[in-house]
Every structure is written in C-alpha cells, then in structure tokens.
Amino acid sequence: MTIRTLLMTAVAALSLAAVTAVAADYPEAPIIYDKPVQGVIFSHKVHVEKGLACDMCHNRIFEQQAKKSQQNKDFVMESLYQGKYCGTCHNGSLAFASNTRCATCHIGVKGAKRAQGGDKAEHGEHH
C-alpha cells in the first residue's frame, strides 16, 4: 500500500466516523403540544441542525420527555416572555422573540391535523 492509499483510507474512515457521529438519536418526528392550546409544534430537527447540543435544553429547561412541559400550569406565553421554557433563547437576541412570528410554532388545529394525518386529512375540507 502506498502512503497515498493509506492517507485516502484514513480520510475516508474519519469522514465516515464524522457522519455517523452527527446522526445522533433525537426524535425526528416533530412534537405537537395540545395544552393549553392545540397545535403548537416543536421540531428537534430544526434546532439540532442549527448546532444545538442536547444538554443545552435538556439540562434544566426541558425534561427529556415529549409534551411533559404542557402538564405545567405555567406553560403559557407569559412565562416565555419572562425567559422560561422556549423563552430562554427565544427572547429576541439568541433567537426570534416569542412575541413575534407566532405562526412559526402555532400551526393550529389544522396544521396539527396535517402533520399527523398526512394529506388525507385535508382532502375534501374546503369551506
């Protein structure tokens, strides 16, 4: 084996390792809250792809259990404005402020149906 082939194999092996390392296991499917209001979406994919590590949120802010936060009575917008839950970052400086771009997360009952049921939920619904 030449040095060249050796180097190329090393590069290939490292790349493979890197790719498999990034594909960490987080829930790929979006989480859709239904309390206190229906149709609020959270996508792990969107946040992880921005470079957030698991412990950035799952240290103190959120439990590692889907929709656990909505069992809290204070899971309301006012708490976000005070820096709790999503408001820890969504305050206007780290990420968009939680009192802007409402429809990004508030997809509503219709959005939730689409996300869960696929296109067949929408078919025939036209008012």
Partner: protein, 250 residues
C-alpha cells in the same frame, strides 16, 4: 307699495351716486344674516361638532344595543377553542360542514410571521341581509331591537335559498332541528340571559374576538372600529350586505 317700475327704462345710477349710508345699511343687512349663521357655529363649534357626530352615528347604528364583533385577526392561532365553545353552547351537531363559526386558513407571506393567517368567520348579522330577503316564509328576520338576524325555526321549510344567498357561508342545515341554523351571537343561550358576551368571544384565549355594542361610544368595539391608526375592514364588501363583523390587524 305698488309702484310700477318700468325696468326697461331704468338708468344705472352709478355706484358713486349711492350714499355711504345706503352702502352701510346694505352691508349690515348681509352681515346680520351671515353673522347669525357664523356666530352660531363659531361660538359653539365643539358642541355642534359633537352633536353632528352623535346624530350621524345614531342613524348609522339604529339598534339598541347594536351588537357587533371585531376580530383582531393577527392574534388568531387556530386553537379553535371558540369553535368548541360555540358547538357546546349552541348544540351544533358534530357533522362535517355543520358550524356556526369556523376558522379559515390563508397561506400568505403578508401575515405577521410570514407564513399563514387564520381568519375566524361567523354570521355577520348584516345590515342589508341577503338571506332575509330571499326567505319565502319569513323564517329568518333581522330583529328590530338588537339587529341580530334570527331564525324562527318553526317556519323554516329547508329550501336552503338563504344558505345559497349568504356571501359568508354562515348558514347550515341542522338535521336535528330540521331547520337552517347559524350564529345568532348567542342571543338565546347567553345574551338574553344576562351574559355580556358570546361563547366564542368568552373562550378565546388570545383576545381575537372582541364583542360589544356599537351604539355606545365608550365600547371597545366602537373604539377599535372607529380608530384610524390601523386598518379595519369587512369581508366581501362588494356583496353590499353591510356586515356588522369587522376585522383588523396590527
């Protein structure tokens, strides 16, 4: 004084021949007339202005109370608590297409947030309703006290012409009542029983639906509809029905 004046033979006496006293008398007469007119409005400019306004809107809002709703559309997140509350309060059947109020969705980059906006719709309690005009049995009518378009279900024959005529798709045929049904601002279920708002307005967590009385100047609906900072509109004004439900953003 029946002096015969032969106008053809009259000579122009010339302005220089009119005495100053005559001129003064003439001007005073004119001033007296205009002075009374002008003086009246100048000295009481504020109160007459208000009076003009009051009489204007008394004609525009003839009902007492003149129930109306304004939607702060940018705040709607399609949680549909209003729909649930309405269905429960007014016993709307759980059938596809049966609704007294619903939320429309519009994908538009114009929305705050740049994705989509949600638009709550319900019966607009129009001032010139198309539905009441086409009803063959007078089963639906505009109540003369409150302005709400009401149903007398005993007279409804289910011809559905009103449903066809409504530009807002507000009516549906209720199989349980065997009559057409639609939003009536919760008149029979809430307002006539002393409640101050409709079930949907009560249930909305985001202050989208503001329900009130346009005949009162200090009412919140009146203020929002008459302010000039943000645009206020109605749905389908080209239908000519003069709706009582308004929409605003921002």
């Amino acid at each position: 004084m029946n002096k015969h004046i032969d106008f053809d033979k009259l000579q122009n006496e010339g302005v220089e021949n009119v005495s100053n006293q005559e001129r003064r008398d003439f001007l005073k007469m004119g001033l007296a007339i205009t002075g009374i007119f002008a003086g009246g409005t100048i000295f009481s400019a504020i109160s007459t202005f208000n009076q003009a306004q009051a009489s204007d809107f008394a004609k525009k809002y003839p009902y007492n109370p003149h129930y109306s709703m304004v939607m702060q559309q940018h705040r709607c997140i399609d949680c549909e608590r209003c729909v649930v509350a309405c269905n429960e309060t007014n016993h709307v059947p759980k059938v596809h297409g049966a609704y007294r109020t619903t939320i429309l969705e519009k994908e538009t980059a114009d929305a705050l947030g740049g994705k989509r906006e949600f638009i709550p719709v319900l019966c607009n309690q129009c001032n010139l309703p198309q539905c009441t005009r086409v009803c063959p049995t007078k089963a639906t009518y505009k109540d003369q006290t409150t302005g709400i378009v009401l149903m007398n279900i005993k007279k409804c024959i289910g011809c559905l012409t009103c449903q066809e005529g409504c530009p807002y798709n507000a009516r549906y045929f209720n199989e349980e009542k065997k009559a057409v049904d639609k939003c009536n601002f919760c008149w029979d279920t809430r307002l006539s029983k002393g409640e101050k708002d409709t079930a949907c307005a009560h249930a909305c967590p985001a202050d989208v639906r503001v329900f009130g009385d346009l005949s009162k100047q200090d009412d919140r609906v009146f203020k929002i509809v008459h302010q000039i900072e943000r645009p206020v509109w109605v749905l389908r004004p080209e239908a000519g029905t003069r709706p009582n439900v308004f929409y605003t953003k921002g």
